[in-house]
Each structure stands twice: as structure tokens, then as C-alpha cells.
């Protein structure tokens, strides 16, 4: 499975209720060192209730310019949340199902 198969697939909760689509996947570079960088560790997926299109970088809260564009993209992605890898029950070509007690984290990146 490659990342492209995952992006845009449906996300459902444990009861099968649709929550949105995978619009981004978060990685951390904190695993064992490899040849160039450390290996990427998957932290979780960003679920967006409205659109699977990209945030175009405006998930970072310090990126605010040009202002109308930032507002438009944030508005398009309102209600997005981050679900950690631990809270994902099934992930496959048909979509993602979350565990019953998953936590929805803020999907923006503060800094």
C-alpha cells in the first residue's frame, strides 16, 4: 500500500458512521537513524469531514499569508482532526476504521 492509495479514502468510526476522508498523513522523524535521515514513523492520519484536497501548507498556524487564501483553505478544512496510529483499527484500500475510544486531536501545527 502506498500513500496515494490512502489519501482520499473514507474514514469511519467503530459503528461504521462516516467521519470524513483522509486528507493528510503525519510522520515524525524520530525513529532509529538510517543512512540519510532517521526512518519516518507514521504518527497518524488527518481526517477532514469535507474535502480530501490538500491543506497546501496552511495547517501550520504560523503561515497566514496571503490572508484571504489562508482563511479560505482553513475554512474548507474546518472540523479536521488528527487521529493517532494507535486509534486506527483497520487501514486498507477500502478506507480507515477507527477504534471505539479514539481521540480526535487538533490537526493544526502550532509554532
Amino acid at each position: 500500500m502506498i500513500l496515494n492509495d490512502l489519501l482520499g479514502t473514507d474514514v469511519v468510526d467503530s459503528t461504521g458512521q462516516r467521519l470524513g476522508e483522509v486528507s493528510d498523513v503525519r510522520f515524525a522523524l524520530d525513529a532509529a537513524p538510517a543512512q540519510l535521515l532517521s526512518r519516518a514513523r507514521m504518527v497518524g492520519v488527518v481526517v477532514c469531514p469535507r474535502t480530501a484536497t490538500s491543506f497546501l501548507g496552511y495547517e501550520r498556524m504560523d503561515v497566514n499569508q496571503p490572508w484571504p487564501l489562508a482563511q479560505l483553505l482553513r475554512w474548507r478544512h474546518r472540523g479536521s482532526f488528527l487521529v493517532l496510529w494507535e486509534d486506527i483499527a483497520v487501514m486498507g484500500p477500502d478506507g480507515v476504521r477507527l477504534r471505539s475510544e479514539f481521540t480526535a486531536y487538533e490537526s493544526t501545527l502550532p509554532r
Binding site: 490538500s54 497546501l56 501548507g57 501550520r60 503561515v63 499569508q65 496571503p66 484571504p68
Partner: protein, 409 residues
């Protein structure tokens, strides 16, 4: 002194490099049908290209990478692909038009059919791309292209009624024999010709080729802010020549020789010779720029090694891509389609694709992770956003207007 020379050279190159077959043809067509009543569009277009070329030059100088590489990385494969597809198709059309332009200019000089000049133009363009150093290529075509100043000289020799030209330009109105649909259709065409996307990609990739650093930003800004407006002035001179000679005679431009008519009337054979030299240099330079731009965008999207600073063997896919693009352009010309027609369509399609090219540039130029403290200032962002709206309106209106007016017929 050396620095001053560099600045002067940069400005002159930018002037000569600004005008290409799209500007030549569109301005002459517009001048012969609408007089100077669309001169304001050239102004709007020049300010726009200055704004975005400056932005992409800054991205390249600060991040050390071409704008398109940053777009691909920052916006992801999908948004990058939309940008690539739009830009690449326009590039391909523009390459075709420019090669046709070289051939037409050589036909004007020799009387031999342009079709026979096309293979020659193809080989000449390819050889230069393969062998000639980037800076030499840039400067020679830019400087020789300056001979298009002959349009401005011709305008003076024609002793026009300056007052009436000025009033056409300052109080624009739709001429009685043209409808508002065609007026706005040509407004979009002229806008597309001034803001052709290849210039921006070429400008930023060229900045990487010439290893610009932050300290070169001042020079790049001078090049753009002086060179492009002076280039725009040349565009206006082309339109004005057509407005003075062709409009009263009822000739609407459909061939390159008609573009040359006012210059011949003003300065005779000598002026024509200078004009042909200028057209060959301008279209040749633009053919190089568009061909390189298609190679740049493809290579930068797919992550191939690219650049003329590398030997061709070290950037093999980059060079193969450009050969394919050149052959594709020549294949289109080989069908016998009129290069002037290709040019007219290419500038309108440029206008249609503009949002996909310029929106990503604006986003990237605002990203502090790439740009640090060199992100866009507030004023630049406001103006750029206004331009984005103009670009969007032009892009959306282009196809309906094209259908409604029968492509400006």
C-alpha cells in the same frame, strides 16, 4: 564598473527577452483593429509579470531552488501535477508558435517558404540548447532582440498624430466596427501574451543556473522592474505602429509581413532588415526559453537532475524531454497549420492556465520555511491577490468569449 555592466546587460536582456512571437502578433493584431484602446491591458500585464517574475526570482535566490521544485515539494504531487500539466501544455503551444515565428521571419528575409525553414530552426534551437552556455545564450538573443526598437523608431518616423494616439490610450473605448465581445477577447489575449507563464519558470530556473544568492536580489529586481516595463513599451510601439498605418487602411493583421508593413513604410529596406533581425532573435530567444522551460518544469516535478550548468550526459532525461518537446512542436507545424494562428491561440490558452501557474508561486513566496525573512511583504501580497482575481476572471471568461466571438473573428 563590472557590476554596473552586469546590471545594464541584465536590463537590456530583459527588454529584448520580453517580446516574443505572442507579443509581436497580438500587439500588431490589436493595434490594427482596436488602435491603442487596449494599451491599458499591456500596462496591467507588465505590472503583473513584474510582480510574479520578481517573486519567483526571489524564491530561487533565497532557497537556492527553482520555483517549480518548491511548488512540487510544498504543495504535493497532486496540486503540483495540475500546475505542471497546465504549464507544460502552454509551453508546448508556445514552443510551436516560436519555432513557427523563426521560420516566418526567415521566410520574410529570404522568400523561401517558412515550411522549409522549420527544420533549420529546429536544429538551430536544439544545437544551442545542447552546446551553448546559459549566460551567452541569454545575452546574445536578448541584445540582438533589442533591434525591435526599430518599431519605436518607425513610430517616430511615421510622424503620427500623438494627441489622437494618446487619447485612444487614455480614453479607451470599443471601436464602432468591433463588438464588446471581441474587445474583451483581445484584452484577454493581450494579457496572456504579456504574462506567459514560461517567463516565470524560466526566470526562476535561470536564477538557479546562474547561482543567484540573496545578495543578487537587488540586481534581479532592477532587471525585472526596468527591463520588463521597457519591453512592454516596445509592445506598445508595435501596437501603435499598427494603429497608425494598418487601422486607417483597414488591414487587420493575419501574417507576419503585415506586422512589418508600418516599419517598411517608415524606414524602407534598412528598417525591414533590422526588424527581421530583431524578430529572428526575439523568437529564437523565446524558443530557447520555452523549450528550456518545458524541460525545467518536467524535470523539477519528477525530480530529475536538470540544468544547463550540468553536462547533457549528467542531465540526460532533461535533455531528452526537450528534444521530444521540440519534435512535437515541429510535428504540429508540419501539419501546415498557420503559425500565426497557433500564436493567437497560445496566448489565449496561456491566459486560461494562468491561475494554475501563479497561485502556487504566490503561496510559496509566502512560506517562511523556504523564504525566511524574505517572504512577501504586505503590499506585494495585496497587489498579488488583486492580480489573482484578475487572472481568475480572465481565465474563466476566456473560453466563453472564444466561442461567442469565434476566436475574435
Amino acid at each position: 564598473m563590472k557590476r554596473l555592466l552586469g546590471v545594464a546587460l541584465g536590463i537590456l536582456t530583459a527588454i529584448g527577452g520580453f517580446v516574443d512571437i505572442g507579443d509581436l502578433v497580438t500587439n500588431a493584431v490589436v493595434g490594427s483593429r482596436f488602435g491603442l484602446s487596449l494599451a491599458w491591458v499591456v500596462l496591467v500585464g507588465v505590472v503583473g509579470i513584474c510582480l510574479f517574475a520578481n517573486m519567483s526570482g526571489r524564491v530561487a535566490a533565497v532557497s537556492g531552488r527553482a520555483t517549480f521544485e518548491v511548488i512540487r515539494e510544498r504543495m504535493g504531487a497532486r496540486a503540483g501535477l495540475a500546475n505542471l500539466t497546465a504549464s507544460f501544455l502552454i509551453n508546448l503551444m508556445t514552443v510551436t508558435a516560436e519555432i513557427g515565428g523563426i521560420a516566418l521571419a526567415l521566410q520574410l528575409a529570404s522568400g523561401v517558404s517558412y515550411m522549409l525553414w522549420v527544420p533549420f530552426a529546429l536544429i538551430a534551437v536544439w544545437l544551442v540548447i545542447w552546446r551553448v552556455k546559459f549566460s551567452i545564450m541569454e545575452n546574445v538573443t536578448g541584445l540582438v532582440g533589442l533591434s525591435l526598437v526599430v518599431f519605436a523608431v518607425a513610430l517616430f518616423l511615421l510622424k503620427p498624430d500623438w494627441g489622437s494616439l494618446a487619447s485612444q490610450a487614455l480614453h479607451p473605448s470599443v471601436p464602432s466596427e468591433e463588438g464588446p465581445g471581441t474587445y474583451w477577447y483581445y484584452a484577454i489575449a493581450l494579457f496572456g501574451a504579456a504574462m506567459t507563464p514560461y517567463e516565470v519558470f524560466f526566470f526562476s530556473s535561470g536564477a538557479v543556473e546562474e547561482r543567484w544568492k540573496v545578495k543578487d536580489l537587488v540586481q534581479s529586481r532592477i532587471n525585472v522592474l526596468l527591463g520588463f516595463p521597457l519591453g512592454g513599451f516596445l509592445s506598445l510601439a508595435i501596437a501603435a505602429c499598427a494603429a497608425v498605418v494598418l487601422l486607417p487602411a483597414g488591414i487587420s493583421v493575419t501574417t507576419l509581413s503585415q506586422v512589418a508593413l508600418p516599419v517598411i513604410q517608415a524606414g524602407g529596406q534598412l528598417a525591414l532588415a533590422v526588424l527581421i533581425l530583431g524578430v529572428v532573435a526575439a523568437t529564437f530567444g523565446a524558443a530557447l526559453e520555452t523549450t528550456l522551460s518545458s524541460g525545467y518544469t518536467l524535470a523539477q516535478f519528477f525530480g530529475w537532475s536538470w540544468g544547463k550548468f550540468r553536462r547533457p550526459a549528467e542531465a540526460a532525461r532533461f535533455h531528452v524531454a526537450m528534444i521530444v518537446v521540440l519534435l512535437a512542436g515541429v510535428a504540429v507545424l508540419a501539419t501546415g497549420v498557420d503559425p500565426i494562428l497557433v500564436t493567437e491561440y497560445s496566448v489565449v490558452f496561456s491566459a486560461i492556465a494562468l491561475p494554475l501557474t501563479y497561485l502556487p508561486i504566490l503561496i510559496v513566496a509566502n512560506d517562511p520555511q523556504y523564504m525566511g525573512k524574505h517572504v512577501n511583504g504586505r503590499a506585494v501580497n495585496i497587489v498579488a491577490f488583486v492580480y489573482l482575481v484578475i487572472i481568475l476572471v480572465a481565465s474563466v471568461a476566456a473560453i466563453p468569449l472564444m466561442i461567442a466571438t469565434g476566436a475574435g473573428a
